[in-house]
């Protein structure tokens, strides 16, 4: 996403320097009267060339290489922002009503196994095109209802690992935390959810299962800075499915609706009715109870 042409020129120069660009094109959009002004949207299909000049891949994984460049663009190229950097994965952000943004990006032309949608009402931080949900990094995306009181702690924590918060919204930090904990630290999603929404200390203290008690104690001590405080319910999207999680005292609602082979996660049951005729089962997860929806062929944990 470019705010002006100069940002595009600079970014393309940067991309050509560090990647082999296989295809570059403007993201198709439709001009509609409801969307008065918009930044420029381009997408690039790229390949990493192992080349001494561009920073050797032997020291970095492919993913780290991409993350470093994404962070660089967001931080250093004025007016340029990476909205999506994954494989088989896309994100569409905008300022406007959801139905208008969907028309603007012509979403009817896309097909996917999983979709997340989000309508933000900016309260504490500016409403701008980059500040719309989802926030993404590589194959992780996040949409979030609520706010993170622990943003400052979480931000400082991810910054120690080279991430930069540039989108002016608290939710962004969760995308980086997921990338850090899942991809770099190799933790299973269940453990990541236990880090984000752990039981309170008094509950841990009264746990009878010694192993479980030690497990939570360890997580809270080692990953205390990754604990998410404040009201939240969010959906993490990744290449194996979707994960829903609410805060540990359920200050935001989250409901799971099953209909045949499809699973819906939402803040309100009524919103699922809007898109689904036949509801088989409605489930209200408990506070901090993660909901995992994996594709049938997903092998991970």
């Amino acid at each position: 996403m470019y705010e002006h042409n100069k940002a595009k020129e600079e970014t393309e120069l940067f991309l050509n320097n560090y990647f082999r660009v296989i295809k570059a094109e403007e993201i198709p959009t439709k001009q509609i009267p409801e969307i008065k002004s918009s930044p420029l949207h381009y997408r690039y299909f790229i390949e990493i060339v192992d080349n001494k000049k561009t920073g050797s891949l032997s020291l970095l994984t492919e993913e780290d290489y991409v993350v470093n460049r994404v962070v660089y663009i967001n931080k250093n190229i004025e007016g340029a922002f990476v909205v999506s950097s994954g494989k088989n994965f896309g994100a569409f952000k905008g300022v406007g009503f959801p139905e208008d943004i969907s028309k603007f990006f012509m979403l009817e032309n896309y097909k996917a196994y999983a979709w997340t949608a989000h309508n933000r009402f900016p309260t504490n931080t500016p409403g701008w095109w980059g500040g719309a949900h989802p926030f993404t990094l590589l194959d992780f995306s996040i949409v979030h209802n609520g706010e993170l009181s622990s943003y400052g702690i979480n931000k400082r924590y991810v910054e120690m690992f080279g991430y930069e918060c540039t989108m002016l919204t608290d939710t962004e930090v969760v995308a980086y935390l997921v990338d850090l904990l899942v991809r770099k630290h190799g933790l299973p999603f269940k453990t990541v959810c236990d880090i984000f929404s752990p039981p309170t200390w008094d509950v841990i203290q009264n746990m009878e299962d010694i192993k479980l008690k030690e497990y939570y104690k360890t997580l809270r001590i080692v990953y205390g800075s990754a604990l998410l405080n404040g009201p939240f319910a969010f959906i993490i999207g990744f290449n194996g499915g979707l994960i829903g999680l609410s805060d540990r005292i359920k200050l935001r609602p989250l409901v799971v609706v099953e209909s045949g082979n499809t699973v819906y996660l939402s803040s309100e049951e009524s919103s699922v009715l809007e898109v689904c005729d036949k509801i088989d089962r409605v489930y209200h997860p408990e506070a901090g109870e993660p909901v995992f929806i994996f594709y049938n062929d997903y092998k991970g944990e």
Binding site: I249, E268, E269
Partner: protein, 274 residues
């Protein structure tokens, strides 16, 4: 009986609520049937007409159902969302399904009956004044913080369904300083609020409970009042009317030092260092 049916599909919440109010106030309609509710907020808000019935036949009504309502009866044939009966002043609500979080927040009078489970913080800050005593009866289980900061009224949890959850979640009755909670259980819930004590039911409790459960079973016909009343209940009532009084009034919590305490100290420090 004069009734009207409104199809709420694609209706914005303001439009729907305007239609309901027009029907009740201008046309004198006594029974409003809503089909295909799609999360419209504030249905029944502020209506004062005692003999009016609002029936949500299909779909899911939105948050703050029956908020500030002052008389009518609302029936939902399905699930309800969060904030049902928010600051409700009078009337009745029947939910033939589950309901979400923060049900009957700050409720002042009237009755809410829910057949299924409820979420977190149900009954928070319910209050009572003279003969205005609100009550809520939950047929299923309740989440954490049931009856939190309750200042009055009656909360009943029956736990009639067979899922493996505890009948009420953690921190039930935390900060409670008025009213009473009846729970159909043999054992005391864990993490009970420090402000309450557990008692056996006396005759007047049993009478109150009986009339509420009979009304519950009249609407939700698969349950029999006499069966439910055979079970053991426990009663929670607060031990103090003002559990936080000492916390917020000056001079009571930590005794504030005398004015000259600081000045004396200052002099001491100064002596020491200069």
């Amino acid at each position: 009986m004069n009734s009207i049916t409104i199809d709420a599909l694609n209706l914005y919440y303001r439009e729907l609520n305007f239609k309901i109010k027009e029907a009740v106030r201008k046309e004198g309609i006594k029974k409003v049937i809503i089909k295909n509710a799609r999360g419209q907020r504030f249905i029944g808000t502020g209506l004062k007409e005692k003999d009016v019935e609002i029936i949500i036949e299909s779909g899911v009504p939105g948050n703050d159902l029956a908020m500030f309502m002052d008389g009518p009866t609302v029936k939902v044939f399905g699930n309800a969302q969060d904030g049902v009966g928010n600051t409700m002043n009078n009337g009745k609500v029947f939910i033939h399904g589950d309901a979400g979080d923060v049900i009957c927040y700050g409720m002042r009078n009237g009755k809410i009956f829910i057949k299924g489970n409820v979420g977190y913080r149900v009954g928070i800050h319910m209050k009572e004044y003279k003969d205005m005593i609100p009550s809520i009866v939950v047929g299923g289980k309740a989440g954490d913080f049931f009856g939190e900061y309750m200042a009055g009224g009656i909360g009943v949890v029956l736990g009639l369904n067979n899922d493996d959850k505890p009948i009420v979640g953690r921190y039930c009755a935390t900060g409670m300083h008025g009213g009473v909670i009846y729970i159909r259980t043999e054992k005391v819930p864990t993490y009970l609020g420090k402000e309450v004590k557990v008692f056996e039911l006396n005759e007047s409790d049993k009478e109150k409970l009986k009339s509420l459960i009979e009304e519950f079973c009249q609407e939700f016909k698969e349950y029999k009042a006499e069966d439910i009343l055979k079970s053991r209940f426990i009663k929670l009532i607060p031990v103090s009317k003002r559990p936080y009084g000492r916390l917020y009034s000056p001079g009571n919590h930590f005794p504030l030092p005398e004015e000259n305490y600081f000045s004396n100290k200052k002099i001491d420090i100064e002596k020491k260092y200069y």
